[in-house]
Symmetry: C2
Subunit: 305 residues, 2 copies
């Protein structure tokens, strides 16, 4: 199945206890498309960059085989830029600088050849833009949406409409609590799923992720990484791995959804081992499948005996 | 195998968003012995209560079949009393009152008939007292220890000695970070296990628990409870279920340790559904085994396909 990815393409300057990098390629659409392209043959990107966008980075997308028909270079400004510093406890970070630049006027126009895409990944952008994408696609089999606290508080109405129209919502536990007004995660999940999404994935950082649907409740462990270099893009990579693997498997059912959650987690676990999107350069299927198997063994509960 | 339980027996006054109770039977030894007695035929309690201890509560222990040879009623004072209030987010609570009473002079003298106990549960008491217990037992097959931040900061030296002498340390993630001085849980686990314990269990509240040993790393999910009445005693109950089930299974190996973690989690999940130790009154093996199976299904990762 084809995957459509809409989101930001950015340059990030990142400091973490493991080091620092300047203006490394980032943005939600970057991570989602690289991670989904790992599994899927057809990954289509809609995003915008500025006049400072490096040819080498453009080449990285081309080398990866990402379809760039919807990729626009806006010569009238610079690329979205984010600068942040992670704390010793990397669950926390400070944003030091945000320059929206050309992303401020991002208008996700879906090329005609993209409109029939079967899996639609709405990266973490304004809900109004996510709706605009949903209005343009013609036959999605699965629509997947990410969001953040900024939109939950600042664009609630549009976000509620987006949520009512997507199949899968992927958020973290803090966002789930804010969106539902509940503290208990099971109650959170019930309330959020009542808003529309057939599938809800609540990411819990170092504690794994939960998948809720009418016919399943799944608790996925986190991979026990002893060294995390840079958490940037982990959530986007999760979405990309999830979507990409479902695209490859070609069948959306209970077992494949569980597998997709684990493949998403696997991809995210590789992502955080290097700065930015560097991990995707050399990642191969053998390593990914081996880590999938490690995930599986980690959580086997023996039968009662 | 026989189980020896040493800890507090207390009266708790508890407020939670679900209601309140006054002077309900509590204390670490209470929860541990009830939970372990659910599985184990021989559970021996060492604890002390005061002149206000109710005959009905004593009868509760007798009805449960807990061996009370080491249970002392001190007529010279009152029973350990704790009063607390849980927040809307029940991961947080305020202690409103603590009266150590007769527990202040608790001296864990192990009766001769208890000294050969095979599984030793050291509830959350002063590390000096835990060491005193270890000095008295003669042939333990498994020693299990709980502790808390209060001892990590206030009795570090004695605690390090206790930890160096026990087989299993059970703590929560916050305590693991404080004890190791690390933030990454995998690194925490490595550092703590280097201090002595063959097995380390890190409880993560609503996110489940991890078991670390030389030959296994296990990630157990949390049971998705939608209604929690009172978290008091959940950790002690976990230890009791863990120890009790191992006692019943009679064999300490990789599979049984994983099962014991799940049975501990199952018992804890029942514990928090009612105030205090009320859940233990009517709990039966059918319900416990059914929930074990729910735990198992919750975390099955399908093979790669």
């Amino acid at each position: 199945m084809s995957v459509l990815v809409v989101g930001s393409v950015a340059y990030d300057s990142i400091e973490s206890p493991a080091g620092k990098v300047d203006r490394t390629l980032g943005g939600s659409a970057t991570y989602i498309s690289f991670a989904s392209r790992f599994f899927s043959n057809i990954v289509r990107l809609v995003g915008t960059v500025g006049n400072d966008f490096d040819d080498m980075d453009l080449q990285y997308f081309k080398d990866k085989g990402v379809d760039l028909e919807g990729f626009k270079k806006d010569e009238g400004g610079r690329t979205f830029f984010w600068k942040g510093r992670y704390h010793e406890n990397m669950n926390f970070r400070d944003t030091l600088d945000t320059q929206l630049n050309v992303f401020e006027h991002f208008d996700p126009v879906i090329p005609d050849v993209y409109k029939g895409s079967r899996i639609v990944c709405l990266g973490n952008i304004a809900p109004e833009l996510q709706l605009k994408v949903l209005d343009q696609v013609t036959q999605p089999q699965l629509t997947i949406c990410d969001t953040m606290n900024f939109w939950i508080t600042g664009a609630r109405e549009a976000l509620e409409e987006t949520i009512s129209r997507v199949d899968v919502l992927i958020i973290n536990d803090e966002e789930a609590r804010e969106l539902s007004g509940e503290t208990n995660l099971v109650t959170c999940a019930k309330k959020i799923r009542a808003k529309g999404p057939k599938y809800l994935i609540i990411k819990k950082g170092e504690h794994g992720a939960n998948l809720y649907s009418d016919y399943d409740m799944f608790s996925a462990p986190a991979y026990p990484l002893s060294k995390i270099v840079d958490p940037t893009g982990a959530g986007d990579t999760f979405m990309g791995g999830f979507a990409g693997w479902l695209s490859w498997s070609d069948k959306i059912n209970r077992e494949n959804l569980r597998r997709a959650v684990i493949y998403g987690s696997v991809m995210a676990s590789f992502c955080v081992e290097q700065f930015g999107a560097e991990s995707f350069r050399k990642l191969n299927r053998y390593d990914v499948d081996a880590r999938y198997e490690e995930f599986r063994k980690l959580s086997v509960i023996p039968t009662k005996s």
